[in-house]
Symmetry: C2
Subunit: 341 residues, 2 copies
């Protein structure tokens, strides 16, 4: 009812044109930086637009030009802990700019994914970010999509697609490098579901670091589930079978939390007797344990940001860096590997 605010018919380009006493064609050109408009006229038009608080109707814009100013974010499963930071990074990259993001959650369902994809294309999104719940490669959406597609976290199985993923091998490697730097030599590894690519890659990285130092893993890697309970059980087995280990590299903070509990139960001090390092830097878990967890941070928000920029670049034709990229991870040192002061 009040006349302030955003109510009432939105001001349109022809309003601006009328006020600046030019045709809408000229107004359009002036506002878009076309060059066949006299400087004085352009000023007049810009002023008029500013006074009327004009912003062009994206739908109308999208009809003629085929840029809609939107991108689709197609997630495999929002539930996952890893989606959120990536989402945040991406959304933030669009940020205050001209483009908005459609969020589509496929809930782990292929059919729903196809449906959402269709909807996004019908809406003429300018690009698509596909973010998967794990680092396991996922089926490609196909090559016949008329807009750029970037796969985040879960890479596409098709090498022709461009994917951004986290360097899991590096993650395993710097876990162990850190443990060695802390003077540990009898190192064991507890990880999650062996069918996960992350599991295998981290084991690989861990072996690399051990090899480089002339060391060997104590016992085989213990692979089972991504749960705290498994961390407890595995640690118990480990400490019983190899009482002399002095460090455990865990493939998730959840597992590490379990390990911490078992160590405490069995009277081993962390980090004095056993150093423990986690993976994920999930603050809820890592910051509230006793002691706080040293861990690996995959920079997921940065990954999301990069995915967004990759889409931008591809949209702008700057389709340079095709192919996939493996983003470096980061070591976070806390009390579970180094006694505080």
């Amino acid at each position: 009812m009040s006349s302030s605010g955003t109510a009432g018919r939105a001001t349109t380009l022809s309003d601006v044109a009328r006020r600046a006493d030019v045709s809408i064609a000229t107004a359009s050109k002036a506002l878009n930086g076309r060059f066949d408009v006299a400087p004085a006229t352009r000023q007049r038009i810009l002023a008029a637009a500013a006074e009327l608080d004009f912003s062009p109707n994206p739908m109308a814009k999208g009809l003629s030009a085929d840029r809609s100013g939107t991108v689709g974010i197609l997630t495999g499963d929002l539930e996952g802990r890893f989606m959120i930071p990536i989402l945040m990074g991406a959304e933030n990259a669009f940020g205050t700019g001209r483009v908005n993001a459609f969020l589509c959650d496929a809930r782990g369902d292929q059919i729903r994914e196809q449906h959402h994809l269709k909807a996004l294309l019908v809406r003429h999104v300018d690009g698509i970010i596909v973010v998967g719940p794990s680092t396991n490669p996922r089926p490609s959406l196909g090559q016949d999509i008329p807009v750029p597609v970037v796969y985040a976290y879960a890479p596409s199985e098709d090498p022709r697609d461009t994917s951004l993923t986290s360097d899991e091998v590096m993650g395993g490697r710097i876990q162990v490098e850190h443990l060695i730097a802390c003077g540990r030599t009898r190192i064991a590894h507890i990880s999650g579901d062996p069918t996960f690519a992350a599991t295998q890659n981290r084991v690989q990285g861990i072996r690399q670091a051990l090899d480089a130092a002339g060391l060997e893993l104590v016992g085989p890697p213990l692979l089972s589930q991504w749960s705290e309970a498994w961390g407890r059980d595995a640690a118990a087995m480990l400490l019983e079978r190899h009482p002399d280990i002095d460090a455990i590299a865990c493939a998730s903070d959840q597992i590490a939390r379990g390990v911490l509990d078992t160590a405490r139960d069995m009277g081993r001090r962390v980090p004095e007797d056993i150093a423990v390092i986690g993976y994920d830097n999930w603050d809820v878990l890592a910051l509230n344990s006793r002691p706080q967890l040293s861990t690996i941070d995959a920079n997921l928000e940065e990954l999301g940001r990069l995915a967004a920029h990759q889409v931008f670049d591809a949209m702008d034709g700057t389709d340079t860096s095709a192919g996939s990229k493996n983003l470096p991870v980061r070591l976070v040192i806390r009390g579970s590997t180094i006694a505080s002061r």
Copy 2:
């Protein structure tokens, strides 16, 4: 490059019209269920549309009709643990339907929020869902917004707005009712940041339940932070000062986890000696503790779903149930309050 797939120019209404040998006007009417088109003709047109796999261009549609088929989801801070289920519920309600959601994360910034709001309105969204990171009331977006707005989780300060929030008082109440049903009578309460509405509301609910049973809280409610560490510290204080308590109602699963740790450290058995109940049903925490946590589930996904439907109703003019609603919460019973078999 392949000719299958979605590539190539999208099929348009005039394609359909041509194939059905009618004008685009008639085609439009047929597809939209207008009634001045002969049954036979309509069939022909529908068939043509189906064969060509036609779907109307939402932008063109949005230009004439003023329905864009989109809604905006304006979140205060994606980081929060509570946003995600709500987001999922809402997104899923739009689901396979005709409407897609713009995701906007204000990152706790008023200015960014205004900016996003502006962008959503310029895009002519048909509705807006504002989801806040806590149950604290938040400033209204104002009354002069031309589309329906629903506030989820964090209600609007303005009673004229329609808000959907979680019944925190009920949450506190059924926590204690459950503890009492388990035979506990000496009940204490550990909660989080006292400036949170949730904190106060839950205390209120707890008092209601105790009053109804003729009981009193053991000691004052301990209010400080939403962290596991605080849960540990508070529990230690509590057990020292009141060694005879037999139950602790915690205002978050994080706090409950801390309490569990302290109980174990001090040799109290859970649930035999002390029953512990959490709040949030955050599976990562609640399912991996020893024992698993009884807790309160706020049905956040349902809340998101309802918010979406509320927007739908308001869009369709079925603007019935204005005003705010307080959604019931749900008790989840696990091992921390009842010994397993």
